[in-house]
Amino acid sequence: MYNIIVGGGKVGYFLARGLLDQGHEVLIVERDPAKCEMLTEEFGSVVLQGDGCETAVLDEAGAARAENFISVTGDDEVNLVACQVAKHLFHVPRAIARINNPKNEPIFLKIGIDFTVSSTNVILEHIEEELPAYPLVHLLRLLDGTAYGIVEVKVPLGAQVVGRRLRDLRLPHPSQVLLIVKRGGMPTVPAPDTMLEADDDLVALTSPETAEQLRAVLTDGATRS
C-alpha cells in the first residue's frame, strides 16, 4: 500500500516509522532541506523535498497511485490544501488531515476531507475516559487496620438506579450505604425501601477494591455531562 505523508516533523516521522515497519511503501514530502537530510539518513530514499500543496510536487511524488494521503504538518491550512489538491486533482482514495486547532474539525469535514485526526481531541478523549464523569469522593479512610473507607457518590440524572429501592440494588460486597442526603440537604438514614432519586448524595462504606464498582452501579446509564 502506497502512502504519501506530507510533513516530516515528529508526527510524520513516527507515522513513517510505523508504516514502514508494517511493510508499507511510504514517501515523505517535506519542505525543509535540513529535515529531509535527516529523514533520508534514517529511512533511506523515501523523502521528497518540496511543498506538499504544489501540484508539480505531488505529481512527482506519484500521488495518482497513492492509496493514502496523510498531511500532518503543524499548519492546518497546509493540511487542508494538500488534502484537497490530492483528492481533487489526483483522486487519492483516502485523504487524512491532521488538525492542530480542534475548532477546525467541522469545516474540514464539511469541505470533504475523508478523515481528520485532531491530536488535541484524541488526548482530551483519553483524559476524559480516565476521569470518571461522576467522581467518587473519598471522605474518610478508617484507621482500624482494615482498608475500609467512606466515600460519597452523587446519583446522576438518568442513572438506572433512579426510582429503585435500596434493597433492589446489587451493590458490590463489601459496601454499605450509610446516609442519603436528599436534594435540599435533608439527610436520611437509609432503609431497605428508601427510593433513590436523581441528585441524591450517597455516603457509603466501601473497600478500595469495590469503590469503582459501587460508583458504576450508582451512575450507570446516566447521560454524561
Binding site: C53, E54, T55, A56, D75, D76, E77, V78, L80, V81, Q84, V85, H88, L89, N101, K103, N104, P106, I107, K110, I111
Partner: protein, 145 residues
C-alpha cells in the same frame, strides 16, 4: 456593503481604502498590528488583529453580518482556508481569494471559490501594454546627443 478584508498587505490596504472611500463598511484583519500603517490616513473602517483562519477571530471581525470577504494575505493556503470558512461555514455570499499558483487557482474555482491570480492578471496587463500600437509621439527614440 459590509466587507471583511483579510490581510493588510499592499493589495489589502489599497482595496480597503477604495471600498471605504465608496462608503462601504470595511473591516481589515491582519496578524501583525504594524501592517495597518499601510492604510490611508483617512481610513474610516475598523481594524482587527488576528488570524482569519480562526473562526473566533472571524466572528470578532463581524463575519456573521458580512456581505463580502476578500482573502488577500501573502499566505496562499491561509487565503484558501479562510475563504472556504467564510463561504461554507458562515455562508458569506461574495468571497474572493487570492491564489498565485495556477493549478490551485483552477481547482478552487471548480470548488466554487472566486479566485484572483495577481501573477496572471499582471502578466496580462503587461502583455497588453507590450502589444498595444505605440502612439507616434512615444515612438520617437530618445536622440543621443
Amino acid at each position: 456593503m459590509n466587507a471583511i478584508i483579510m490581510g493588510c498587505s499592499r493589495t489589502g490596504s489599497i482595496l480597503a481604502g477604495l471600498l471605504a472611500s465608496e462608503g462601504h463598511q470595511v473591516t481589515v484583519l491582519d496578524m501583525n498590528p504594524n501592517a495597518f500603517r499601510l492604510l490611508p490616513p483617512d481610513f474610516g473602517g475598523v481594524v482587527v488583529v488576528g488570524n482569519g483562519i480562526d473562526e473566533d477571530v472571524l466572528r470578532r471581525a463581524g463575519i456573521e453580518q458580512a456581505d463580502a470577504f476578500a482573502a488577500v494575505t501573502q499566505n496562499e493556503n491561509q487565503n484558501i482556508m479562510a475563504a472556504q470558512i467564510a463561504r461554507h461555514r458562515f455562508n458569506v455570499q461574495r468571497v474572493v481569494c487570492r491564489i498565485h499558483d495556477p493549478s490551485r487557482e483552477q481547482l478552487y474555482e471548480s470548488l466554487g471559490l472566486r479566485t484572483i491570480n495577481p501573477a496572471r492578471v499582471g502578466a496580462q496587463l503587461v502583455h497588453e501594454a507590450l502589444l498595444r500600437e505605440p502612439a507616434t509621439a512615444q515612438a520617437e527614440p530618445p536622440r543621443s546627443g
